[in-house]
Amino acid sequence: MMNGIWLFLFLVGIIVAAFTGRIEAVTQGVLSGASDGVMVSLGLISIIAFWLGMMQIAEDAGLVASLSRVVRPLARWLFPSVPSDHPAMGSLIANMSANILGLGNAATPLGLKAIRELQSLNDQDPETASDAMCTLLALNTASLTVIPATMIGLRMQFHSRAPSQIVGATVLATLVATLAAIGLDRWYRRRDRKRRGGRGA
C-alpha cells in the first residue's frame, strides 16, 4: 500500500509538472523535500529525547501499576469474556494504563503480550479475531493521547507562537474518538452475534 501511495504522489507530480510546463519545479521539489525530511527528523530529536526521558521516569516510578487500580473496573466492563483472574486481564489493564499515561513505547509490548494471552483464551478459529481482540484493537488504534509531544515539537520547529496551544483540542478530539471506538466496537459485536445466531454468546 505504501508503495502505491508513494508512487502515485511522485509520478502524478512529475506528469502534472510536465503538462503544466512546470518541469523545473520537480527538481526543486525533490531537493527541498529531501532536505526538509532530514531537517524535520533532526529537529525532532530534542523533543523526542526529552519526552522519552520523562517517560522513563514515569515507567520506573511504577505509574502504570498505580493506575491499574483505577482502570480495573473499566477493563472488566470492556472485556466481559476475559476471566478477571486470568493473566490476560493483567496485561490488558497494563496496556490501557500505559495508553492513558501516553507511554506509547511501553504500551505496545504490553498490548502484544495481551493479545498473545487473548489468543490462549480463543476457543474458536485461531486465525479469526475474538471479541476481546477486536476491543483491544479498537482501544489501541484510537489511542487516547494526553500530551501530543511530537506535534508540540514540530510546531516549535516552525516557530509557532504557541506550540502547546493545541493540547486542549487534541485531548478532546482523542477522547471523542476513543469513546466512538468503544461504542462502535460494542455495536458491531452485538450485530455480529445476532448474525451468527447467538453462537458463542
Binding site: 500500500m1 505504501m2 501511495i5 511522485f10 507530480g13 502534472v16 521539489g29 527541498s32 529531501a34 526538509d36 525530511g37 532530514v38 527528523s41 533532526l42 525532532l44 530529536i45 523526542i48 529525547a49 526529552f50 522519552l52 526521558g53 520523562m54 517517560m55 522513563q56 521516569i57 514515569a58 520506573d60 516510578a61 505509574l63 502484544l112 498473545r116 486465525e127 479469526t128 479475531a129 481482540m133 484493537l137 479498537a138 489501541n140 488504534t141 484510537a142 489511542s143 493521547t145 494526553v146 500530551i147 506535534m151 516552525f158 516557530h159 509557532s160 504557541a162 493545541i166 486542549g168 483540542a169 487534541t170 478532546l172 478530539a173 482523542t174 466512538a180 471506538a181 462502535l184 466496537d185
Partner: protein, 177 residues
C-alpha cells in the same frame, strides 16, 4: 470556556512534568539517571525516521510543486465546502490512518505553506496528534499472533479515525478561532 481550555493547554505539559518528577521522587527513583537512559533512545528513534521522512517529503513536495495538489484540492472544493470541511486537510485525513510518516510529511508541508498558527496548521496538528496509525497498529497486533480474519476491527478503527478527523476540525473551530 475558551479561556479555561487555553489555560488547561498551557498548564498540561508543566503539570504532567511536575507530576512525573514528584512520582519519581516519591518512589525513590534516581530521576536524573532514569531520564538519561530514556532520552538516549530519542536520538535513535528520531534518526531512524529519516529514510521514511525523506521519501515522503520528496513525494509530497513534488506533488505540491507540480500543481497537482492544488488541482486535487480545487476539484474537491465544491463537495467539501458544502460539508464545511477545509479541502486542504483532506489529503492528511486520508493518509493519517495508513502511514504515520506520510501524514507527518503532509503536516510539515501544511506548516510550510499555511504556518503552524493558521486554522489549517492548528487543525492539522490536532488531526495528527489525536490518533494512531490504524492500519499499522492492526498489522502489528494481528500479525504477531497470525490472525487472518480481523472481523469488524478494521471497520471500527477506520470509523473512529473519521470521528477523530471531524472532532479535530470541530474543536479547533470552536476553541482556537
Amino acid at each position: 470556556m475558551n479561556g479555561l481550555v487555553s489555560l488547561l493547554s498551557d498548564w498540561a505539559l508543566p503539570a504532567t512534568l511536575a507530576g512525573i518528577l514528584v512520582a519519581g521522587v516519591a518512589r525513590r527513583i534516581a530521576v536524573y539517571d532514569a531520564f538519561v537512559t530514556g532520552a538516549k533512545e530519542g536520538f535513535t528513534t528520531s534518526v531512524s525516521l529519516i529514510p521514511q521522512l525523506v521519501a515522503m517529503m520528496v513525494a509530497v513536495s513534488v506533488f505540491r510543486a507540480s500543481g497537482a495538489l492544488a488541482m486535487l484540492v480545487g476539484a474537491l472544493h465544491p463537495l467539501l465546502a458544502w460539508l464545511h470541511f477545509p479541502p486542504e486537510l483532506l489529503p492528511l485525513a486520508l493518509l493519517r490512518p495508513i502511514s504515520g510518516s506520510a501524514s507527518l510529511a503532509l503536516v510539515t508541508d501544511l506548516f510550510k505553506t499555511h504556518g503552524p498558527d493558521s486554522f489549517i496548521g492548528r487543525a492539522a496538528s490536532v488531526m495528527q496528534g489525536s490518533t494512531d496509525t490504524t492500519l499499522y497498529v492492526l498489522t502489528v497486533y494481528f500479525g504477531s499472533i497470525g490472525i487472518r480474519r480481523p472481523r469488524y476491527a478494521v471497520k471500527v478503527g477506520l470509523l473512529s479515525d473519521l470521528v477523530s478527523v471531524v472532532a479535530s476540525v470541530f474543536f479547533v473551530t470552536l476553541m482556537l478561532q
